[in-house]
Symmetry: C2
Subunit: 374 residues, 2 copies
């Protein structure tokens, strides 16, 4: 298939990337991109960490000053703790980086801080979050295939430059991940429910069980597979969570309130012996659990959805987050401006079974489009 | 080592067992005991289920009337739904079964119901609960090694005949499980915390996440490994849980209240940005999770603890639940009455690292004892 691009900034052809923060995630990005022939420059506040990443082959070169390298690379990826990301993004933009992304677990506050601080340059930044991780930490736990089959969420805004989005999507694809786009607010609500509250719930369950009086040792001996499964993530790196809880406070409180309210309803069912209500809940949850997609890998046939779009800001974010709201993975994206410059065509490559529904939804949103299998 | 026994009822020499309820657990017991040369008679209200168990080799013979076989076997094992167990135990005792046990998830109400209905015969029953299971159900999911390395909890009372306890312990050991003894009340509190509340917590989390508005599909796509781990047990057989929630109501409510109170405290930490409190909790839970015993198998050297006991009821339950309260596994147990009949010696075989502590605790409880490694 042809690759229509939006100008000199081709979505393909990533040759040099700077990674700031060379721990588990940054190191895994480095290893994966190295395998795809990319020259990776690493930078870490902790000189030991960047030296270890160099030793591990996760980076080819150590930088000590982001300003000196940001405008020499195709993309700057920030893999630093959540609380520090906005400042690093601003530094990368100020240093002239052509495209900037991050891999933090919380998006809204970062996207807002960057837009407020650098309203003109924020177009060169798109927030990202690969849904992959490990109980390990540090470059020692890094692997080139950490993101294989994972979902990599991007959070474009109305200001995001299409070629920046396309470039980050390309890098995620080179690492084996699939891309979906949602708004920063949607992202934060989603991860509060599927990641942050589960972490707090597992941690709390482990601690409550361990503190249950003098039968503690026996309790832990009797913990069978279900308890072990439920508390596994409580063994992960604790250091990242206080920042996440502060940054995603409102979404976490909302999801936690839903969870506690639902537990309180369950308590009432137990207290009053409401068997039917309990059975209904258990059966529903079993169906829901069994219908969890087992993997994010797109394996079936693909379709090309061609969307005619006006030449105005925010179109890309509208299209991609509309696809995201339907759980449509974006396998590829190309942006073609018409010669006259009065608008253009965006080509979204998606699983073909979702093509027709996406075209319908686009029509409802005011975007005429067509699709064909490829 | 010598095996001192309490009379004609040797703890060894199990040759015939009746299993009532030939589903996943009953079928797995049958397969495991068949491999040890035991003749297993199966009985199920559902004739298709017992026929399937016969086909699968989990039982050698189908019985249709427990009264006709109960006094011809060494042990009757009840693997029926929790709500039906007490009636089956009473039926087995009335039919003259020499020893009766069950594998239900709740013990207090069953033990109490049997003691109330048959105060004299209850001595031939000891409650049991192997801490093993599977997301599957039916004899099709049964395997001979379901209990290998599992903890098999027994709940003797002051009335339990020592030889009945010993016989059930032997059968658990033949299936590869290790035995611990706790009181029925302790058992119910323990499983509420490590099994019943985790099940309800996983089920509730799955349902809350699935019901989160129109972003449902995207939410489930983004569910990464941690969420999958935490909700795995929500995919299990829902049918057993309403009974368990009714039978173990008080202990579940207590554990659930502890859990919700702890979540409410976590909510407060998040709401007020209390990083130190969050980090402290996360670090504590990580340590607790990492120190969960990885398996119940006793692999180290053993010790023989010889306890001089008076000839009065309840001594066995006192000794075994004292060991249980210290998380001491009982690898073997023998009961020797003295020739004069004025008392006797109980020999407990336990991990040798726990021998000295157990002897101290026994002394505090008024039982002089000694120990030596074997």
């Amino acid at each position: 298939m042809s690759h229509l691009v939006s100008g000199p900034e081709a979505s393909e052809g990533i040759s040099t990337v700077a990674v700031v923060g060379t721990g588990l995630i940054g190191g895994s990005i480095g290893l994966g991109l190295r395998d795809r022939g990319v020259h990776v420059i690493g930078l870490d506040d902790d000189a030991d960490a960047s030296a270890a990443a160099l030793d591990a082959g996760a980076i080819r070169e150590v930088a000590t000053d982001l300003a000196a390298v940001a405008n020499t690379v195709d993309l700057v990826i920030l893999a630093t703790p959540v609380a520090t990301i906005a400042d690093w993004v601003i530094a990368a933009l100020d240093a002239g980086a052509p495209a900037v992304t991050d891999v933090g677990s919380v998006k809204g506050p970062v996207v807002e801080a960057v837009a407020a601080a650098r309203p003109n340059d924020a177009a060169r930044y798109v927030g990202g979050h690969p849904m992959a991780g490990s109980e390990q930490s540090g470059v020692g736990g890094a692997t080139a295939n950490l993101f294989a089959g994972a979902m990599w969420v991007l959070t474009p805004t109305e200001h995001t430059e299409p070629h920046v989005f396309a470039r980050v999507r390309t890098v995620a694809g080179m690492l084996g991940a699939e891309t979906v786009a949602v708004t920063p607010t949607q992202h934060d609500a989603l991860v509060a429910m599927v990641s942050h509250v589960p972490q707090l719930a597992a941690t709390t369950l482990m601690d409550v069980a361990a503190k249950s009086g003098e039968e503690h040792a026996m309790m832990l001996r009797l913990a069978a597979g279900g308890f072990r499964d439920m508390t596994r993530i409580a063994a992960g790196n604790p250091l990242i969570w206080p920042d996440i809880c502060v940054a995603n406070r409102d979404a976490i409180l909302s999801a936690l309130d839903h969870y506690v309210a639902a537990l309180t309803e369950v308590r009432r069912h137990v207290a009053f012996g409401e068997r039917d209500a309990l059975l209904g809940l258990l059966e529903r949850a079993r169906e829901e659990r069994r219908s969890l997609p087992s993997t994010a890998v797109i394996s079936g046939p693909l379709a090309e959805v061609r969307v005619r779009v006006p030449d105005r800001p925010g179109v890309l974010a509208e299209l991609t987050t509309l696809a995201g709201s339907m759980a449509v993975n974006i396998a590829d994206i190309e942006i073609a401006h018409t010669i006259e410059g009065t608008g253009g065509v965006v080509v979204l490559v998606v699983p073909s079974e979702q093509g027709a529904a996406l075209v319908d939804a686009l029509a409802s949103a005011g975007f005429p489009s067509s699709w064909s299998t490829i």
